[in-house]
């Protein structure tokens, strides 16, 4: 079933504030097997000039994916989430996310299209502080593979 094209351009209200915790950053770094001291050791992060532990570059997905669920789980969109795979991902950073950040995400539907029997949606999540400082934008393309589509 094609996705509802009227979702394109739609923005959602800011998500509740997410507080970035030191232990969450350490847990995420451990999960990707990355022992970079900036993720783990406060002194190492401060020596690089940061106020607190630095989050790995892809940590932003923790916030943006949760926010994008507002869109992709909306039954009116018509996305079969059980057939969804991640098509592509892009992050642009104004600065890295650090522990202690309080961040909220505004999701906008950038693009919807059908390609070779697959339904494809691209969302942008703008991750900002409550003061309105844009920290990171996360662009995610999800592909719902059609029953006839090649894997």
């Amino acid at each position: 079933m094609p996705l509802d094209p009227t979702f394109v351009g739609r923005s959602y209200p800011p998500t509740p504030v997410y507080q970035v915790g030191r232990e969450k950053i350490r847990e995420f770094a451990a999960a990707i097997g990355d022992a970079n001291p900036a993720y783990i050791d406060l002194e190492a992060a401060r020596a690089l000039g940061y106020s607190d532990l630095v989050a790995p570059p892809t940590f932003a997905i923790v916030l943006s994916m949760r926010a994008a669920h507002q869109v992709v789980m909306d039954p009116a969109l018509g996305l079969d989430y059980s057939r969804v795979v991640h098509g592509d991902q892009r992050f642009t950073y104004t600065r890295p996310i650090v522990a202690g950040d309080e961040l909220s995400v505004v999701v906008t539907v950038e693009k919807i299209r059908s390609m070779a029997g697959n339904e494809v949606i691209t969302t942008r999540g703008d991750i900002s502080t409550p003061d309105g400082e844009l920290v990171c934008s996360a662009y995610s393309t999800l592909v719902a593979r059609g029953p006839e589509a090649a894997t």
């Binding site: 969450k24 847990e27 995420f28 451990a30 999960a31 990707i32 097997g33 990355d34 970079n36 900036a38 993720y39 020596a47 690089l48 000039g49 940061y50 630095v54 790995p56 570059p57 892809t58 997905i61 923790v62 994916m65 949760r66 989430y81 059980s82 057939r83 969804v84 795979v85 991640h86 098509g87 592509d88 991902q89 892009r90 992050f91 642009t92 950073y93 600065r95 890295p96 662009y139 593979r145 894997t151």
Partner: protein, 142 residues
């Protein structure tokens, strides 16, 4: 910001150290928990095959995170990345055989930009086959 590598000393065509990263089912479960992405195709074979996949596949984001390590280990300061993008062009099957799979990642300096920035192109392979397309990171060097 302090990077190991300085803008002045890098040259287009320069290779980053190539690395191999193992990936097991346990890693996927751990990533699911840490990231909050509990899509069962990443840990449950029944769900994966039911969705038409050959077996459990890695989260695309795990592969993206792993590929970034070639960059962040090279520059030292992970906060020096200003843009990072990939296409997930091939699912990474992670068999339930105790040893899993391995992702080979190489990187090259593709372009020197203005403002101390450098574009790096990454190649990630599993068993010789590319799993990421257009994998690019832009970093700001000291």
């Amino acid at each position: 910001m302090t990077t190991y590598v300085s803008y002045d000393e890098v040259e287009v065509g320069q290779s980053l150290p190539t690395r191999s990263f193992p990936l097991t089912r346990a890693d996927l479960v751990r990533y699911a928990g840490a990231s909050g992405d509990f899509n069962p195709i990443h840990w449950n074979a029944r769900s994966a095959t039911g969705a038409g996949l050959p077996d459990v596949i890695a989260h695309g984001m795990v592969t993206m995170a792993i590929a970034a390590r070639v960059v962040t280990d090279w520059i030292g300061d992970p906060g020096a990345i200003v843009e990072y993008s990939v296409r997930f062009i091939r699912p990474v099957v992670v068999p339930d055989d105790g040893s899993g799979t391995a992702i080979e990642v190489e990187g090259v300096v593709a372009e020197k930009l203005d403002d101390g920035q450098v574009r790096l192109d990454l190649t990630a392979r599993v068993a010789g086959e590319k799993i990421l397309g257009m994998a690019r990171a832009t970093v700001r060097l000291s």
